[in-house]
Amino acid sequence: MNTTRRRRIEVLADEPLIPAITRIAASAGIVHYTLLPVSGGAGVRGRWRDDQLSGATSKVMLLLVTSEEHADAFVEQLAPMLETHHLLLMVSDVSVVRGHRFD
């Protein structure tokens, strides 16, 4: 099978921040994305669980599959906010079919 290497970016962020982050992704050339629910966790700010009461502390996992170039642009733009906005950012490699779909 003809597969291509692409970057898989995952960003864990508070739900209210997601629209702003997908806007940053779009400005870095990544317009397609997928959102995965997250149910709880623990970090420097302590434990949390998704209580949905205000949604203020609910988190969502944003998944982006894209080219190395776009990935770098996105990470560059998001980096300054990682600490202040308590985001978790991970980048890894994946193989995809129809690579042009993920440029």
Binding site: G46, Q52, A56, T84, H85
Partner: protein, 318 residues
């Protein structure tokens, strides 16, 4: 009134939830159900308030109460901010975020308080629901001005913060239901009363059970709460609530409505305001503002505050 109020099922279920969480039981209300009940409460409160206003029409008292509510929501964050800066040594951003919560209101505290006041024979007027809706957002504006931050432009909402504030889901639902109540009136709502009127207290019980679990778990996980912030989370509602009752009485509102204004002033938001703050002041610590409003002030109001504001209003009216 105080002891009776404490033994009502709504309060007992809150205590049950809190005890279960403190004992580290794994009891959990599914988030979707809790969220659904929270939306139900907004709809029900809005509809019933609107229907009452449809009956009485606009009155002088209504305008006074509305003006008082707006003023309280705009101004209460100022002394609160000052207290937090001085007594709890919070930084500007965190103090501003917390102050916004205390200027705004808690819908469930209001709902529980209304039920308890009604039970005690001094019901609040229907228009107080409108005042509730008016008081939700002004405090957010004051809070943002206090924070003096143009800061986090990068992740700000597209439509601007005011858009975000006024179109917060719970604000829209409460106001929309209030309008529907005004349009359809008691008559028009008769066919849906079996859902939005009759079961209200029972639904509140389930919701408060969940609130007990959430508040107590937050208290157990307390990372951000310090002795000064806990003390302030007990003191601020007392002060704000007393101011609310006093202002209501001064303006000539009936005792029930003055008590309700006290409940509104004394309560702190934990639904609409945190959602906006997370976006507007992301550097502020949610553990702090939710800890204070949800884990300390809410239980305090539910068990002591409401009874005290009612007692104060009854005394001042006499």
């Amino acid at each position: 009134m105080a002891v009776d109020a404490l033994l009502q099922p709504v309060v007992l279920f809150f205590l049950l939830g809190a005890l279960a969480a403190f004992a580290r039981s794994d009891l959990v209300i599914p988030e979707a159900v809790a969220k659904g009940i929270s939306l139900y409460l907004m709809m029900s409160i809005g509809l019933r308030g609107g229907a009452e206003v449809a009956e009485t029409g606009f009155t002088h008292d209504m305008a006074l109460a509305g003006g008082a509510g707006l003023a309280l929501s705009f101004l209460l964050p100022l002394p609160v901010f000052w207290l937090l800066r001085i007594a709890a040594k919070l930084d500007r951003t965190n103090a501003a975020a917390v102050a916004a919560h205390y200027g705004s209101v808690s819908v469930v505290t209001f709902a529980t308080g209304s039920e308890i006041l009604r039970q005690a024979g001094m019901p609040a007027a229907g228009y107080m629901v409108g005042v509730l809706a008016l008081m939700e957002t002004p405090a957010i504006i004051t809070g943002l001005l206090l924070a003096r931050t143009g800061g986090t432009a990068n992740l700000g909402p597209r439509g601007g913060l005011l858009h975000e504030t006024f179109l917060n889901g719970s604000v829209v639902l409460l106001l929309g239901s209030f309008l529907i109540g005004m349009i359809d009136g008691k008559e028009g709502l008769l066919s849906i009363a079996p859902v939005f009127d009759v079961p209200f207290r029972g639904m509140l019980c389930i919701f408060l059970l969940d609130m007990g679990l959430i508040a107590a778990r937050r208290l157990l996980d307390r990372q951000a709460l310090t002795v000064p912030t806990v003390v302030l989370a007990l003191l601020i509602p007392l002060i704000n609530g007393s101011l609310g009752v006093g202002l209501g009485t001064l303006l000539g509102l009936d005792a029930g409505s003055a008590a309700a204004l006290g409940i509104l002033a004394g309560s702190a938001s934990y639904i609409a305001v945190p959602a906006v703050m997370r976006l507007a002041l992301p550097e502020a610590d949610p553990g702090l503002y939710l800890g204070m409003s949800l884990a300390v002030t809410f239980p305090f109001n539910l068990t002591i505050g409401i009874a005290y504001y009612g007692w104060l209003a009854a005394g001042m009216a006499a």
